[in-house]
Symmetry: C2
Subunit: 317 residues, 2 copies
């Protein structure tokens, strides 16, 4: 029986192995994903993003528990940012959600932000696909909201929660401007801290300044205290409310179209590039070009045109 078939039957170990193969960029993984694809599209994907230290892991842990009490199976994809220079995890090792470790209805997977061919958003969507195929109803993607990579990940989610904490400085204020655009729900976590109300009010004011077109979703600001579980039930309700809106308002079809196009183009881009690397390896082109560039007698633009012409002899323009 293929890995894909085992995954579709709900075999957790098969799913874990397939995810590992995805991580290792094994070509066999692609074959399995092909077999899975037509059986996916059922899971609802929630993105949780926000600055480091906002308490996202704890919040995800609580949301997982909350969805479990509502009878939903929950997959979690946690993106652990790693330094692009050392490969070490910036946030260090952390023990994730031990309390769900014996629950078959919870599937947790960490991804490191490097080494994945085609970028992190590709691995994230592939891993989410496997979780979808194995029957998870809800998939939570947790990521630190900083760079473009993270923004791309958030685009995978149907509902995006932006998590903030009270008392962020002026510098973060600037970043907020960008974050306002991606949130469907805003969460002020650590709501017991000084300034929680003020941060919530500021966020509300900033959100009100956006022109919400009639019939569009109007993002709310929720307050939580994830370590004690306060506000989690209300947040879960709000997420389900956004889900209903998403499914009934026609937002879903636009979302799917954009996401599918992005997936397809990403895979296309990577596949072409991989083919080119193989092609160049035959004639040792890469070495010749790079050496020629060093003494500036070969320019990269002409070199690329030459390689591409050799790869695709027919005219495609």
């Amino acid at each position: 029986m293929s890995l894909a078939e085992q995954v579709l039957e709900g075999n957790i170990r098969a799913a874990a192995r397939l995810m590992r193969d995805i991580d290792d960029c094994r070509p066999e993984a692609i074959e399995e994903l092909k077999l899975l694809y037509h059986r996916t599209g059922k899971a609802f994907i929630i993105g949780i993003t926000g600055p480091p230290g906002a308490g996202k892991s704890t919040l995800v842990d609580q949301l997982t528990a909350s969805f479990r009490t509502r009878g939903k199976k929950v997959g979690v994809v946690a993106i652990d940012p790693t330094s692009p220079f050392t490969g070490g995890a910036i946030l260090g090792d952390r023990i994730r959600m031990n309390r769900h470790s014996c629950d078959e209805g919870v599937f947790i997977r960490s991804l490191a932000t490097r080494g994945s061919l085609g970028g992190l958003s590709r691995s994230t969507s592939d891993v989410a696909l496997v979780m979808d195929a194995i029957g998870m109803d809800i998939i939570i993607i947790e990521t630190v909201g900083v760079g473009q990579d993270e923004v791309d990940i958030v685009k995978e989610a149907h509902t995006t929660c932006v998590v903030m904490v009270p008392g962020l400085g002026d510098d973060i204020q600037a970043i907020k401007a960008g974050i306002l655009e991606i949130g469907d729900i805003f969460v002020v976590n650590k709501a017991d801290r000084d300034g929680a109300d003020r941060t919530a009010r500021e966020l509300s004011n900033m959100l009100e300044m956006r022109n919400i077109v009639d019939g569009n979703w109007n993002p709310q600001v929720m307050k939580t205290e994830a370590t004690r579980g306060t506000g989690i039930n209300e947040l879960t309700d709000e997420i389900m409310k956004h889900r209903d809106f998403f499914l009934t308002s026609g937002t879903m079809s636009t979302f799917l179209r954009e996401r599918n196009q992005r997936h397809f183009m990403g895979i296309l881009r990577d596949t072409l590039f991989r083919k080119a690397l193989l092609f160049m390896a035959i004639n040792n082109d890469l070495d010749r070009v790079v050496s020629g560039m060093s003494d500036h007698h070969i320019d990269p633009y002409s070199a690329v045109e030459e390689i591409v012409a050799k790869m695709m002899p027919q005219r495609v323009e």
Copy 2:
């Protein structure tokens, strides 16, 4: 006379026009860059990076003045981060370095962090290439040190200065770990502020914990007060010291090889993808695939294989 020839003769307006063409992704720009390429490679490139609010613009302004008094022509490429969602500049409009506006030996160019095909690091290196061709001795690339995009930009520089400010919080501490790896020189700016000595000492301690192999560069921590010009001369000296090290230690050849390979591969990747888009446009493939993905009867992996096989009928594996 071609734009490239005009640029090589030092025509500033021609250079500005070519940069605009690069920004607009006009194919003619590539033809001009081909003509320029063999006459470049003379400029020394300095990267300035650090968190928002560290005073990078002012520091770059002062460094520009300092290099001018040393008889160097200075090009500045300032990366203005824009929100990926609205397209608006996060930091808002800012007036850059008015005092150099009448100086023919200074060429300043802002790049926005979106809309550039092939990513920002490609545009940055292309713009730097034009500045090199027009005869700038020093090119300063200024960027906010946050995401992977910015890290890629920093890789363009021969010498990278990481700018910090006193009193950064715990969250930034985590990010510092990554930033330590990229700095050749560390600058504590706003050195008149409380805690400047402590920040400088902390940085020094962190740097000392790295194992500097004998014969490698040993990064120093410098203190500046850019608004008053304090410490700028010393910083310029240190940059020149690193430049000498770079040129004499053999670091340069490794650096060039890696950079050239990155440039070549980036251009190759984008060119292939552009060809694929043109190819698909002929048969309306994109629409067919994306629609098929929506009802999950087409999977993107198989669709990509099919398109690639049509584009490259010969076997390249």
